[in-house]
């Protein structure tokens, strides 16, 4: 239960850890790399016509007879987008995926960032429209808790395009999925990154995805499309499948590394708070 007090206490703990790691306690605590009209001095810049006279540092002019303007860091509120894979293939690890989404979303809301959560399958389905503030935590958790799996396929590229069509504002996109997309993940990640989003991939897979314990005749059915065929799985086929999954995950790793996309992989055997703690200790949702 995502709204369970015990679980929420765990989320509080994570938030405190996030504050300690990431710093700041003000509105829009998350520092931006942009320079603007904030209150924290950042740097000097040469004056150009049109610049705000109020930002000219007259002291520097008095000393060096050169007009420079003071630059301040902008304390802007970031937008965190969570794309949660809600396709039927996530059924066995859906709880963990939801807990991870809850943890990230909880921290984001407490940092006064904007949070937007979408379900991901053959289409995009909103779980939580863009919102901000600590007061939205419970609606967020309830919405997440009630979110079912849906769809008959997973089309990440189409979902990415649909997401971009809805939200042009750049933000941090956290994709929580097993990344076992029949049409691939490369195009979708590339498209999101091309649209200036900071993308972080959180891969959740369990033993059903990575290992094959079946032997002999099976009627193999796709959990999403319902397609099926009768196969005889020998140890050789089992090994080939496990190798195929390993290759697939390896290609995901290479893709993320090439594009500077952060990636963390976990399994249901690892508690969600451990996963988030590790992410935070590595510096947050960074590559």
């Amino acid at each position: 239960m995502l709204t369970d007090p015990t679980f929420i206490r765990k989320l509080d703990g994570l938030y405190l850890l996030a504050r300690k790691v990431l710093g700041g306690s003000m509105q829009a605590d998350r520092k931006s790399s942009k320079k603007g009209s904030g209150i924290t001095f950042a740097d000097y810049a040469e004056y150009h016509p049109g610049d705000d006279f109020r930002s000219i540092d007259w002291r520097v002019y008095g000393r060096f007879e050169q007009l420079v303007v003071k630059l301040f860091e902008i304390d802007e509120d970031a937008t965190v987008y969570i794309l949660l894979d809600e396709s039927p293939s996530m059924q066995s690890k859906f709880t963990l995926a939801k807990q991870l989404a809850a943890g990230i979303g909880y921290i984001a809301l407490h940092m006064l960032d904007q949070l937007c959560v979408y379900g991901l399958a053959d289409k995009l389905q909103p779980v939580l429209e863009r919102t901000r503030g600590r007061g939205k935590v419970l609606p967020f958790l309830r919405g997440l808790e009630d979110a079912p799996t849906f769809g008959s396929d997973t089309n990440f590229t189409a979902c990415a395009r649909e997401f971009q069509a809805r939200h042009r504002r750049k933000g941090i996109i956290v994709v929580i999925s097993d990344f076992l997309f029949p049409s691939g993940f490369d195009d979708g990640l590339k498209f999101l990154q091309w649209n200036k989003h900071e993308v972080f991939c959180l891969q959740v897979q369990d033993d059903n995805d990575t290992k094959c314990d079946w032997k002999g005749d099976v009627d193999l059915t796709c959990v999403e499309t319902g397609q099926h065929q009768r196969l005889t799985i020998t140890p050789r086929e089992a090994r080939l499948y496990e190798q195929a999954v390993a290759d697939w995950n390896d290609s995901l790793r290479k893709c993320c590394a090439k594009r500077g996309i952060g990636l963390a992989s976990t399994t249901p055997a690892v508690p969600f708070e451990t996963v988030i703690t590790d992410i935070l200790r590595r510096g947050g949702l960074v590559a």
Binding site: L180, P182, K215, G216, D217, L220, T221, Y241
Partner: protein, 591 residues
């Protein structure tokens, strides 16, 4: 093809549940995959085997059907019609010639080896029985497919000194066993030394042994010659299978004495030689041995045992008014040393009387009168007594023309109960009858010998002799030698009296009646009964057993069914297919 157990065809009905169970069994487990597209990628590389995979279930069903069908068919015990897989009767010749040779080359040893090889080569379902054959067929095992029993039976075959009797095998094909024998193949393992050189009919021959050079005695006899003195004539006939004439010394000597009666050098030509008679002057009656000084392939025919029989006369006394005629008749058979009858007033064995029956164990009574236990009533004389022979083959009538005897003076008479009427009148009045009771016997001639002029008839002494020898149990006199397997007459014995027979190997047996059981051991026999002690001898004396050149004989045995029977082939097929199906099943279920 025929089926020994066609009822098992019903077992094919169980094929239906098999198919149902099979289809339930091969339904695969349902599994859901989250990375179905990766499975597709794996199995795209294995499209070449997809056809086999699709057909595999059908193939498995086909294999299981084959297994089931094979088992069901095997249960019906199919037999191929043209399969000559009949039961075998393995006959091992153990006649005397099979003892030829020595050691492992002995013909009987070779025959036993051949029989063992035959048994070991039989397939598991082939049934056989083992018998030995010489003068007769002796079964040594039941019909069985157990090789151990058959081999034990082969081992138990022992050599004999008997002549080969081809009629013994022919008898198997006839009589009560003819139907049983139709389903059998007779395989005779022999050296091919058959009487007259001809093999038994309807028998497959498996010949053993090579031609051997051998010579021996194939005919012998001994008897005292007529005339004065004890001149013993010994008849010897030899035969040889050697290609050239063999010289050998023939020794004739009494068995109980170291003295040699005669030593003769013989030239034994190839084949059967003409017989020769050797006379020994002043020879003692009893056991004699004739032996050839030879060291050849078969020693059993190099010597013969002969008994120089001296007849023991029947002691006869006459108690009649016409004593002269009766004495003359008796004395006519007691002349010389070889007399059969002897007038002996003291301790007579037989009493001849006229009128009343004498109180003697054996009696010949003419013209019966008065009362007697042998008849109950004497009536009026018969007007006409035309004799009619009732038992023509009776020993008493063997040398008599009873129908030509004049039975004048015969009277109506009622013989004792159980009397044997040999001759009777046309009115059924006994004219010659034999009665026995309480160890006594009497022959009654219902005639007046004077009125019938019987004393002058040629049949009178013949009747006296026949009556005396028959009543004294001397119908058949003992010969100098007998062949193995023959039964010999037991002289002087009354019907229920025992005779102790002592064999050459010292064993004793008891026989009752007038003939012994077949005697098969060569050598001297001693017969002991109430009439005294008698001697007899048994010798091989067979050209077929001596002439050991078997080159003319050839094996005619056909092939023995050595392949597996159909039911066993089907069972093995079922097992093999079951193994193949198990591998498929294992691959399907375990991967």
């Amino acid at each position: 093809m025929k089926f020994l157990a066609p009822l098992f065809f019903w077992s094919f009905l169980s094929f239906l549940p098999l198919v149902a169970i099979y289809f339930l069994k091969v339904r695969p487990r349902r599994r859901t995959a989250t990375a179905y597209f990766l499975w597709n990628r794996v199995f795209t590389e294995k499209k070449a085997t997809s056809l086999f995979q699709r057909l595999r279930d059908l193939l498995s069903l086909l294999l299981m059907s084959l297994v089931f069908g094979s088992v069901c068919l095997a249960l019906t015990r199919p037999e191929l019609v043209n399969d000559d897989r009949k039961d075998l009767l393995i006959l091992i010749d153990n006649s005397a010639s099979m003892s030829a040779g020595s050691g492992s080359a002995q013909r009987l040893a070779l025959a036993k080896t051949a029989a063992s090889d035959l048994i070991k080569g039989m397939d598991a379902s082939q049934r056989a029985s083992v018998a030995s054959v010489a003068s007769d067929v002796s079964f040594l095992s039941h019909l069985t497919d157990n090789p151990r029993q058959l081999l034990d039976a082969v081992t138990s075959v022992n050599p004999t000194s008997l002549d080969f009797n081809r009629n013994a095998i022919a008898a198997l094909r006839g009589g009560d066993s003819s139907e049983w024998m139709k389903g059998h193949r007779l395989i005779l393992i022999t050296d091919g030394c058959f009487p007259n050189g001809s093999a038994p009919d309807n028998v497959e021959i498996l010949k053993v042994g090579e031609p051997l050079e051998n010579a021996g005695i194939v005919g012998a006899d001994a008897r005292f010659l007529p005339g004065a003195g004890n001149r013993l004539g010994i008849y010897i006939r030899t035969a040889s299978s050697a290609k050239e004439t063999i010289k050998a010394d023939l020794t004739l000597k009494p068995a109980d004495s170291p003295a040699i009666g005669k030593l003769v050098s013989l030239d034994i030509k190839p084949g059967t030689n003409a017989g020769e008679t050797f006379v020994i002057e002043d020879a003692a009656p009893g056991k004699w041995i004739a032996s050839l000084d030879l060291n050849d392939a078969f020693a059993g025919d190099n010597s013969v045992s002969l008994v120089a029989q001296k007849p023991k006369p029947v002691r006869v006394n006459v108690q009649a008014s016409d004593k002269f005629f009766f004495d003359t008749a008796v004395e006519s058979f007691s002349s010389g040393n070889n007399g059969f009858l002897l007038l002996s007033p003291e301790n007579p064995q037989l009493v001849i009387s006229r009128g009343n029956a004498p109180d003697a164990p054996l009696a010949l009574v003419f013209e019966p009168s008065g009362s007697s236990p042998w008849w109950s009533a004497i009536g009026e004389p018969l007007e006409s007594a035309t004799p009619r022979v009732s038992i023509p083959d009776h020993p008493i009538l063997r040398h008599l023309d009873a129908a030509g005897i004049n039975f004048a003076g015969a009277r109506k008479i009622t013989p004792a109960k159980d009397a044997l009427v040999l001759v009777e009148s046309e009115d059924a009045v006994p004219l010659l009858f034999l009665a026995s009771a309480n160890g006594r016997s009497v022959l009654v001639a219902n005639m007046n010998p004077v009125e019938a002029d019987f004393f002058y008839s040629a049949w009178f002494p013949v009747l006296v002799h026949s009556a005396a020898t028959h009543l004294a149990g001397r119908d058949d006199s003992l010969a100098a030698t007998y062949l193995p397997g023959e039964s010999i007459p037991l002289p002087g014995v009354r019907p229920d009296e025992p005779t102790t027979i002592k064999a050459p190997d010292g064993s004793s047996s008891t026989a009752s009646g007038k003939r012994s059981a077949p005697l098969d051991k060569p050598g001297f026999y001693t017969l002991q009964n109430a009439s005294g002690e008698w001697l007899a001898a048994v010798n091989l004396l067979s050209p077929a057993e001596t002439l050991l050149d078997n080159s003319a004989a050839a094996s005619t045995v056909g092939p023995i069914a050595s392949g597996l029977p159909p039911y066993l082939i089907l069972t093995i097929l079922a097992i093999l297919v079951l193994i193949a199906e198990s591998l498929l099943y294992h691959r399907r279920k375990v991967g």
